[in-house]
């Protein structure tokens, strides 16, 4: 069946593939409720949809590498507001990551949701599929309007996932999530789009950017066409202000101080934290910022006007601060969440260094962090499912009881620190290269310092897991609040689907280090301007 599908998708036109990438998860969302009463069929729908979606994105990949940038204009909503899609290298990369990891995550979800007897599983899978549809639309969006539609849909579809447990704590987290994400996008992102439209007369992602700076020749050579010649030139101060609106309006990137939603969202079931809050949602944020920097402002415009210089400091501050906060978290998922906040700002930092090499580093880091962080969350969920433990202080000696889980965790941790043989090393390498060659020492210092901090909050977990004796039960330490916790000390590995999933993603992290070309080729195409 798989080979048949592959052959079929190779015959499809690129436009059809783009449509398919959005329709498959949408169709899954519509079909899943029909199988409410038979969980096996319901999960089959999710798995088949995930597999076909991955097939679709991977059959787009060779075409993008070959230099094609398929476009699809679906509908003109109003003058200037086009619902249109275009697969460019960066979007392709994001689409590949999200769709591939959806497959793995679906396997994991099934193990986790059943293993923990979670309620309202149908609603869970429906919202998940809608979130993936939104992610694909965002990855392939051809202009700011389409991106904005997908961005908001992603927030709305993940809100029920955050509040899934329906406990007062989950409700509170949901409120923070909704108000902070929708709030920043409405109050800052939307005006930024409006002002961009007023200044540039277009919202299309265009190589070289669409914003024209005062005193600089517009970058017309790259094919911006009429749009740029109609644009109103902006002063560096205004460009800086507009960039400010975008950076903080895109709250999903969790640049401090709009990061609160991310640790709060950790009350969601772990598969949600793993795919959405470590990959799809947050990557949608940094992806959007990267796209805005590259295709709306243009790297040259920003570096020549100096309008984006402040971003290096904001991102650098977030990297360091979030790492320091992470050091002090005892809750494993919370620590991972702050690690995510920190790692996301690496991408923003890389974008803000404003060199082609660092932009490649940003793309590489998006991929590396995705596979590694999902591994870490899978491991955290695995521990919760098998041992019902959530705090780091409870993890003494767990490495020997759950060898697969904790080995995968170790690989993920190495990637976060940025050590070989994991993909995390490569991203940092390119970022450093970009910063050093342009003699920007602040980012260099940030990267070095944060590497130390990353080691500081990940290595102790590994030490506890493998080298410390498990404390005698019952624990008096935090977390062991009720007697139920004690009988879970007698546990082994998590259910098979969970172990399978985290082994796959951990291997991906290593494979990406050994064969980085899959990502690098796309990244190079991106900085070459398509």
């Amino acid at each position: 069946m798989l080979t048949g599908l592959t052959a079929f998708s190779q015959d499809m036109s690129s436009g059809d593939l783009i449509i398919a990438a959005m329709l498959i998860p949408t169709a899954a969302a519509l079909l899943i409720p029909l199988f409410h009463r038979s969980p096996n069929l319901r999960e089959a729908v999710t798995l088949i949809a995930a597999a076909s979606l991955a097939m679709v994105t991977w059959s787009l990949y060779p075409r993008i590498i070959a230099g094609a940038q398929p476009e699809l204009k679906v509908w003109e909503v109003a003058p200037g507001l086009d619902l249109a899609f275009k697969v460019e290298p960066l979007g392709m990369l994001f689409g590949l990551i999200a769709s591939t990891l959806w497959v793995v995550n679906s396997i994991y979800s099934i193990g986790y949701m059943r293993g923990n007897d979670e309620p309202r599983q149908t609603q869970f899978y429906v919202c998940f599929a809608v979130a993936i549809a939104a992610t694909m639309s965002l990855a392939f969006s051809a202009n700011l309007f389409t991106m904005f539609v997908a961005y908001e849909l992603l927030t709305l579809s993940t809100y029920p996932l955050v509040t899934h447990k329906a406990t007062p704590e989950a409700m509170k987290a949901g409120r923070v999530y909704l108000v902070l994400l929708i709030g920043t996008s409405m109050v800052l992102f939307l005006p930024a789009i409006l002002l961009t439209w007023a200044a540039a007369g277009t919202l299309d992602f265009t190589p070289g950017g669409i914003i024209v700076a005062q005193g600089l020749e517009p970058v017309q050579a790259l094919g911006a066409g009429d749009a740029v010649s109609k644009a109103i030139p902006l002063s560096p101060l205004l460009i800086g202000g507009l960039l400010f609106l975008f950076v903080f309006g895109i709250g999903k990137a969790a640049v401090m101080p709009v990061h609160f939603w991310l640790p709060a969202a950790m009350v969601a079931p772990t598969p949600v934290s793993a795919l959405l809050h470590a990959v799809a949602v947050v990557k949608a944020g940094v992806f959007s910022i990267l796209k805005v920097v590259v295709y709306i402002f243009g790297i040259d415009t920003l570096s020549q006007t100096g309008a984006g210089d402040w971003l290096v400091y904001v991102a650098g501050f977030t990297v360091i601060m979030a790492s320091i906060v992470a050091l002090r978290q005892d809750n494993l998922k919370k620590r991972l969440a702050f690690s995510t906040v920190s790692q996301l700002s690496y991408v923003v930092l890389a974008a803000a260094i404003l060199t082609p090499v660092s932009a490649i580093g940003a793309a590489m880091h998006i991929a590396a962090h995705a596979v590694s962080k999902i591994t870490l969350f899978f491991a955290a969920g695995s521990i919760y499912t098998a041992a019902h433990k959530t705090e780091i202080s409870q993890l003494n000696g767990i490495g020997w009881k759950m060898p697969w889980t904790m080995s995968a965790f170790a690989i993920g941790a190495l990637a976060m620190i940025g050590l070989p043989p994991t993909a995390g090393f490569l991203g940092k390498w390119f970022m450093l290269q970009g910063a050093v060659t342009t003699e920007q020492w602040f980012p260099v210092a940030v990267i070095v310092l944060s590497t130390v901090l990353n080691a500081g909050y990940f290595l102790p977990i590994l030490v506890r897991a493998f080298f410390l004796e498990a404390a005698p039960v019952p624990l008096h330490a935090a977390g062991a609040k009720n007697a139920n916790d004690t009988h879970h000390d007698d546990h082994g590995e998590a259910p098979f689907p969970i172990v399978l999933a985290l082994t796959i993603t951990a291997s991906m992290s290593v494979l990406l280090f050994l064969f980085p070309d899959v990502v690098l080729d796309l990244a190079k195409l991106m900085v070459a301007g398509g």
Binding site: A78, L83, V149, L156, M171, L178, M186, V187, L194, W197
Partner: protein
């Protein structure tokens, strides 16, 4: 709708739009049984959108207004109905909303109003519709007053038919405020008649120009403007003249609330725009007087203060009522900025808001039908037992927040563009900041109905019947549809705005 299908009635469509519901109301009073009254009303309300859409198509096609002289008496002497882009568009909005909720009404009215009073309800409903359509179609200032009174009197009865005892008090409140508003309006019209010697809007406009040059007349005209401004503002619930609205909406029968929320303030807004732009004219009312400033301040106050009130409500109907006051603020803000983009946004929002708010109130009507209350405490957890009803509510609520991909976003986009075009960048941020408050009040009720532990009544509630779900989902679907296909809203609004800004014709 091809023009020939109306046959010989074709030239008389403008008057039919008023005559059909008027005589329909008369006939309905003779029907003792509720179901018969409902059936006749349903038939009448379904004819009206056909007429309105035909008129709109004709106006768009020719680009010229349709003038209908009643009894063949020409303008200065007789009453003239005038259908231009703006009025045809608003007629469509009102008649479509009036029709869509009728299938819903059967069950809802059946449950909320005793059998003997049901035919009265439908008769008054048609009278109210007559009044609203009349306000919009007439080209005569005094005739507009007459229709204003017809719609108001009918509205008092609609509100008073509510089951709650406070409905009577609310109706009385509205009666007082509405009468003051109408009185102020007619005083203003009287002054204009003294100055111009005509009641026809177009004639008034042409004669006002020379009259203003005379300082004595100028003062009379400004006084008239003041009276009309305040009088109509009362009717359209412009902050701070909105106090009648929350109680009126909260205690009226569910269907009446849905109808009034979608249409009543819209007709008054139409009258406001018509008088300011087409009679007094932009040169006087917008450019030389501080009217825009006053309107901007009041609109923004409405957007924020009314939204805040909505956040703290415990009664879902009142929450939506406060939201309506805030939304009127958006519409009037676009009117105040008075440029092509902002007016397009305002006019588009007339339709968009009508669709979304009617959907929201219908959803509450369905909840009331099942559990007899729309207090948050009783609605807790009802999303689990009435998922389709509350799903539609969620969709329309998301639209109200102005999420992209829904009708609400389109209005906001054009309002934002209008503010930028007017050079008021701070207003852009006020628009988006106030819509953030709508996220909070919609988010709050969403949390109550979906995630809170079910209340006693919610546990046993059943999903609403199909006759309620279909109109509800039609409107919820339209919320999303109008977020993507803006031909019916933005394109027509843009043309109407062009006409308004270009002059009288």
């Amino acid at each position: 709708m091809s023009s020939s299908s109306w046959g010989t009635a074709e030239p008389h469509l403008p008057i039919l739009l008023v005559i059909v519901p008027l005589f329909g109301a008369l006939l309905v009073t003779f029907l003792r049984r509720g179901i018969l009254a409902w059936a006749l009303t349903l038939a009448v309300t379904f004819v009206l959108p056909l007429i309105a859409i035909t008129l709109l198509a004709k106006v768009l096609q020719t680009g010229q207004p349709i003038i209908y002289e009643i009894g063949n008496w020409p303008a200065p002497i007789g009453i003239v109905y005038k259908v231009d882009q703006l009025s045809a568009y608003v007629l469509c909005v009102i008649s479509v909303i009036g029709a869509v909720i009728m299938p819903f009404a059967r069950r809802s009215i059946g449950a909320e109003i005793q059998e003997s009073a049901q035919s009265w309800y439908y008769a008054v409903y048609l009278l109210c519709l007559t009044g609203l359509l009349g306000i919009v179609i007439t080209g005569d200032a005094f005739n507009a007053f007459v229709f204003l009174e017809i719609s108001s009197l009918a509205t008092y009865v609609l509100i008073a038919l509510g089951r709650h005892r406070r409905a009577l008090l609310s109706a009385y409140q509205y009666l007082i405020m509405g009468t003051i508003g109408a009185t102020l309006y007619i005083i203003g019209v009287g002054l204009l008649y003294v100055v111009t010697g005509t009641l026809n809007f177009d004639d008034m406009a042409t004669r006002l120009g020379p009259a203003i040059a005379d300082p004595g007349y100028r003062n009379a005209v400004l006084t008239a403007l003041g009276f009309i401004f305040v009088g109509v503002s009362l009717k359209l619930a412009l902050f701070p003249m909105h106090v009648w609205l929350p109680n009126a909406y909260a205690y009226a029968p569910s269907v009446a609330t849905a109808f009034l929320a979608g249409t009543a303030t819209k007709a008054a807004i139409y009258l406001f725009i018509r008088v300011i732009f087409s009679v007094f004219g932009i040169a006087l009312a917008i450019d030389s007087l501080p009217i825009p400033l006053v309107l901007i301040v009041l609109s923004i106050a409405a957007m924020f203060l009314a939204s805040f009130s909505a956040v703290f409500e415990e009664d879902a109907k009142r929450m939506l009522a406060y939201s309506s006051i805030a939304q009127v603020g958006y519409i009037m803000l676009g009117v105040a900025l008075a440029n092509q983009a902002s007016l397009t946004g305002s006019l588009a929002h007339i339709a968009n808001h009508a669709v979304m708010k009617t959907a929201l109130f219908l959803a509450l009507g369905a909840v009331f039908y099942r559990i007899g209350s729309v207090m948050y405490a009783d609605m807790a957890g009802i999303g689990r037992t009435m998922p389709l009803t509350m799903g539609a509510f969620a969709v329309a609520g998301i639209g109200l927040m102005g999420t992209p991909g829904t009708a609400g976003f389109i209005s906001k986009w054009y309002l934002g563009l209008g503010a930028i075009d007017a050079g008021h960048y701070s207003i852009v941020f006020m628009i988006v900041a106030s819509s953030l408050i709508s996220v909070i009040y919609i988010g709050r009720i969403t949390e109550v109905v979906w995630f809170r532990a079910p209340s006693e009544s919610a546990k046993t509630a059943k999903e609403a019947p199909l006759s309620m779900l279909i109109p509800l989902w039609l409107l919820a679907g339209a919320t999303v549809y109008l977020g993507f296909d803006t031909q019916a809203t933005v394109d027509v609004s843009a043309k109407a705005a062009e006409v308004l800004l270009g002059g009288i014709r």
